[in-house]
Amino acid sequence: MKFTRRNFIKLAGMGAAMVPLGQLGINLQPVQAFAAGMKIDGAREVVSICPFCAVTCHYIAHVKDGKIVSTEGDPDYPVSEGSLCAKGAAQLSMINSHHRLLKPLYRAPYSDHWEEKSWDWTLDRLARNIKDTRDSDFKQVNAKGERVNRVESIFHLGCSIMDNEECAVVHQAARGLGLVHFDHQARI
């Protein structure tokens, strides 16, 4: 095992490293006391990737009781070598933000507020809108009489935070619906 800060704390926390680390001349008493009180003590480590910029720094999420309790840079990713910038270092506050949306919301025409709805209700209502628009506006031919099979009045603006697999299904769905107004953040 490489001697890194993370391993050092883990080892110290287990107590098993007392002898070899002690032999290095390090007084482990304070570290041991510190590690025992840490919220990552006993946590499961899961590797994820910072959701900003395409350096894609990896970080380790420490999961305890179904919650992420800490995040830190992953030293094994050879590009970042464990470093994180201000945004990467703020992962925990982003994940556990009190401001996050946790339920589908609906705003009726001319209304001045959002209301919470169930997923079932939302999917039904949204699918109805999509189908009605597609049914009324679907064009099989363009002005020149060429076959075009498209709906011009529905657009899709996606994002480059989506995973590759998400992009793959979104692309298939968009073309399947007949969309041509289909773009994402690489354009802007």
Partner: protein
């Protein structure tokens, strides 16, 4: 990136222009600093002095929007001082090709322009060929009509005096950068060019990057370790999402979108597949029909048959001259031609130029479906400042999106590494992964069509679409599989078994692959043992790989795990590296060692080799690039909003093909407009991300950067009577924005054609949903774009600045 992040350490000179790498790709910057530790020169050319500048050997300020003048001067310098890598230029670029007689360039314009349509007929931008159709070449580069001579003549106008007068860069600074970078033209030296949105977000964005390609090809810097053109890609998966082409004009794997004039798959293949008559050209895109058929089989499964073009006939077709990109989407929305749409993980009311128009356009929608982590200026457009919700008809759905740590899947970094991330916890509350939402919504619509029927449901109902979202299964399908038992190089692959690489893909419907570039990333060499290579975490290397920081066993990289693109240009005709100390590949007499070569053919000298630039029809790096909208050689044009009325290189002031909208809200200042004499540029910052929709909701980040500011020089501040920290109004023909004045020597006034031109800079991450922090800077930027990409010109427009008397947007 042609190379990858770690490879920057191998460079002898890193030339950063149109990027503030230290602040916007902070963790990448250490690789640049490692190059510096090894003696590399680091240069930063940018309007603003930033932390990138502070860590560079020198910073050179230039006026926003004049990059092409600067780069044109560098090209002239390299050619006239014979700093180019002659062997590379002659053998590997199209410098020796003879250009067609009809091609001309006069006073800023190339042959074939149609002023009414603002487009070129490009038929004269072509090469002379022999009877077999192989381009004629003069390897002495002496022919008046060869690319090299035409290029030399073209850039002869970009003399240091004129470049200095238009860019505002002193002659001394120009020569310092040009001389330093030109030194990398030596055989054993490598220079990297790093750019980001500072180059793309101009009406000449594509030509800025084209110019860097000319420079790197002249200096022999493409394909080598420490070289390359490094697009420092912004969003976390902007590489992967672009590879999957969630863009109107392409379909997965950079295949052209079907057009109305191509009625059948056969028409499509005929129009889109390049044909080369040169036996030494690999002409890789000749395989396009195989990639297209495999994609269609992925989309339509068993319903896609040879008779219906594997489902091609169901696909939506774009008009031959249609454009369906961002600027047009919002223009059509403004003109009530849009009824509804999806806005997922993006905040256009904040981040699309001319946001006053964008925000107003949204009011015309009947319905809108947002997927977000937080409320943003877009999700809540209907109660934005100054708008009564009772007047906005739009029915809005706001779907809660999971954080990345709450889902698994792969993303692709700027160096094209496909990286798997794991699910740490279930999505919080009722939030869902975007892929999950997409599958649920699409299936809900399909269900309605099955139940009720409707208009032409075949394209939707015939999809081979998942019943539920499973990223592993989709990743397998991106790689693809055989639809029948198939022999590949003597090995039998069973029906349903994963394809080993894109070389196994076929045009006859016998293979499925949702993205040919990703074929090879999720293989099954032993039946039943599928292998997701994006999960690899093996750091082992050969000594050759270790010497240049290559990690071929860590994750997987497209194409076919090749870490440095065009790497056969890093060796001579005998397959021996130009720089043996930093070899990317080497022919050992029987095989290539090092990186995965750009095709495994024997070296060119064997007579059985192929030219290294395999993605071009002729196999050569394109100094003369006939594919772009506004010309085969990059030419300086001013931004659409420019402080000058003329420039020294031609009578053509701005890009003759630029996308310019002309609606009632698409106002533009006149060139040299006295009302708005100051150049505005916009940028990001370390603590906030793009429009700020996510990061403003993170307290530590908002505390670090709480409020909108405008950076200005002490000279401008004095002229305007503004003190550091005072609130000011920045305004132009399109809008008015409040900001705090940051008076700083990081911004310098420019001497342009003998007069002082000021430039100011503003971030664009602050919006009204975060109280008191300010509102969209993009209310000032114009709806104009590059003709090749329609990427808007965020980086240069005209404004004026004054002290604020009353404040609405800022709590100060």
């Amino acid at each position: 990136m042609t190379n990858h992040w770690i490879d920057l350490k191998n460079s002898d000179c890193v030339f950063i222009m149109g990027s503030n790498a230290a602040e916007h790709h902070p963790i990448s910057f250490k690789w640049i600093l490692r190059a510096k530790d090894n003696g590399a020169k680091i240069m930063h050319v940018d309007p603003k002095f930033s932390r990138t500048s502070a860590r560079s050997d020198f910073h050179v300020p230039l006026r926003s929007g004049t990059d092409l003048a600067f780069l044109g001067g560098l090209i002239k310098y390299i050619i006239e001082n014979k700093k180019y890598f002659a062997e590379y230029v002659t053998e590997y670029t199209n410098s020796a090709f003879i250009v067609s007689d009809g091609f001309q360039f006069k006073d800023g314009m190339f042959s074939g322009y149609n002023g009414e349509k603002r487009t070129y007929d490009k038929s004269t931008w072509s090469f002379k060929t022999d009877a077999k159709g192989v381009p004629l070449r003069d390897k002495t580069l002496a022919d008046d009509r060869c690319v090299f001579q035409l290029m030399k003549k073209h850039y002869s106008r970009y003399n240091v005096k004129d470049v200095s007068r238009i860019t505002g860069v002193s002659k001394e600074n120009l020569l310092k950068v040009w001389e330093t970078f030109a030194e990398t033209g030596k055989k054993d030296k490598a220079g990297a060019i790093c750019y980001a949105l500072g180059w793309t977000q101009h009406t000449v964005g594509v030509q800025n990057i084209r110019a860097s390609a000319l420079i790197q090809l002249l200096l022999g810097n493409i394909g080598v370790a420490g070289g390359g053109i490094e697009a420092l890609r912004g969003e976390p998966n902007v590489q992967g999402s672009t590879d999957h082409c969630i863009l109107w004009h392409i379909i997965p794997g950079y295949l052209p979108v079907p057009r109305a004039q191509w009625n059948t798959l056969e028409d499509y293949n005929k129009a889109c597949t390049p044909v080369s008559h040169d036996p030494q050209s690999a002409n890789w895109w000749q395989h396009k029909p195989a990639y297209m058929a495999s994609l269609l089989k992925g989309w339509y499964g068993d319903k896609g048959t040879a008779e219906n073009g594997f489902g091609y006939e169901w696909l939506p077709k774009a008009d031959g001259d249609g454009d369906y990109s961002y600027l047009y989407i919002f223009d059509r929305m403004y003109n009530s031609q849009m009824k509804g749409g999806f806005i997922w993980g993006t905040n256009p009311c904040q981040s699309v130029p001319n946001s006053n128009k964008v925000r107003k356009a949204m009011d015309n929608l009947d319905w809108a479906c947002f997927a977000e982590v937080h409320h943003t200026e877009s999700t809540d457009f209907w109660h934005r400042p100054g708008v009564d919700p009772a007047t906005v008809k739009t029915e809005c759905f706001l779907l809660p999106s999971a954080n990345r740590a709450e889902k698994e899947g792969s993303i692709t970094n700027s160096g094209r590494w496909q990286l798997w991330h794991y699910q740490a916890t279930k999505p919080q509350g009722e939030s869902l992964a975007l892929g999950d939402m997409c599958v649920k919504i699409t299936n809900a619509v399909r269900h309605l069509y099955r139940k009720e029927g409707g208009t032409y449901p075949e394209p939707l109902l015939n999809l081979d679409f998942p019943a539920y979202y499973d990223p592993e299964k989709i990743a397998q399908k991106c790689n693809g599989w055989f639809t029948k038992d198939t022999m590949v190089k003597g090995k039998l692959y069973k029906k349903g078994q994963q394809v080993p690489s894109f070389t196994a893909l076929k045009d006859d419907g016998s293979t499925v692959s949702l993205n040919w570039l990703y074929a090879g990333g999720y293989t099954e060499e032993e039946l039943g043992k599928k292998y997701n290579k994006s999960k690899r975490r093996d750091l082992s290397q050969t000594p050759e790989q270790a010497a240049i920081g290559l990690y071929p066993n860590y994750s997987w990289c497209w194409p076919v795990n090749r870490r440095i693109l065009y790497n056969r240009a890093s060796v001579d005709r005998n397959g021996q590296p130009w720089n043996p100390d930093k070899a990317v590949i080497r022919w050992d007499g029987a095989k290539w060692i090092g990186d995965v070569p750009d095709g495994g053919w024997a070296p060119l000298a064997s007579g059985n080799g192929k030219y290294p630039f395999i993605m071009h029809k002729e196999g050569h790096g394109q100094l003369f690039g006939p594919g772009r909208c506004e010309g085969p050689f990059p030419e300086h044009y001013e931004p659409v909003e420019t402080p000058v009325k003329k420039h020294p290189f031609s009578g053509q002031l701005s890009n003759p093909c630029a996308v310019i909208l002309d609606g009632e809200m698409d106002k533009l200042a006149e060139p040299g407009d006295k009302r708005f004499p100051i150049v505005l540029t916009t940028y990001s910052m370390t603590e906030h991300w793009c429009g700020g929709g996510e990061t403003r909701n993170s307290p530590p980040l908002l505390e670090a950067e709480p409020q909108l500011y405008v950076e200005m020089s002490p000279e401008l501040a004095e002229e305007k009577g503004i003190k550091n920290g005072e609130p000011v109004v920045v305004e132009n023909v399109r809008g008015r924005v409040e900001a705090v004045a940051m008076v700083t020597i990081r911004m310098r006034p420019f001497n342009i054609q003998g007069k002082t031109v000021h430039e100011v800079g503003m971030p664009f991450c602050f919006g009204w949903t975060t109280k008191g922090c300010g509102d969209s800077t993009n209310r000032l930027t114009p709806s104009v774009g590059d003709p090749n990409t329609t990427i808007p010109e965020y980086k240069a427009c005209l404004v004026n600045v004054r002290k604020a008397k009353t404040l609405k947007e800022l709590d100060v």
